[in-house]
Symmetry: C2
Amino acid sequence: MSLICNTPKPPYYAVIFTSVRSSIEDGYADMANHMMKLAAQQPGFLGVESARESIGITVSYWESLQAIKDWKNNQNHMQAQQLGKEKWYSEYTTRIVRVEKEYSFNDEGRP
Amino acid sequence: MSLICNTPKPPYYAVIFTSVRSSIEDGYADMANHMMKLAAQQPGFLGVESARESIGITVSYWESLQAIKDWKNNQNHMQAQQLGKEKWYSEYTTRIVRVEKEYSFNDEGRP
């Protein structure tokens, strides 16, 4: 399975969540895993890609703006967002975007 | 200075570049640094955020689709893209997006 999401033909939508962690570890990893699983069960979820070094970038992909809104307002997710502000993040930016074009490469054809 | 880009009020545009590296290191880090510097000199460049674990995610922000097109067609960047396919990446996806909404949090107000 590819680590890169196999998203549909655009247009579709995405949330780019860029964050800087605080020094507080307490419960973070468990909650992050739990949220990944919950998001994947939401209607309209298309996939997620994530990496962290100095900053963390998580991009989740969605069929519609409504699907993003529904996930934002999910009760468990709202509790996680609140804890994120109180404990786990020193800073973050959330950007809601519309994907206009997409093109991919893989090296299966490489000699 | 924040690691998270201080982008303007939407709408603006972004390129989400998600990649899996090949095992070939030769010249990659130098080229990546060089491309970051060149991109920052392009008209319409707003900033870049990047992290790599199993996958790499680089999000660059731009004033317009034209600015993205001009960077894509930059001669030095085109050479780098070609080498990327030949050597450095086993797989990648590029997504061109329009940023519709943005909201931020920082802990300056945290007790």
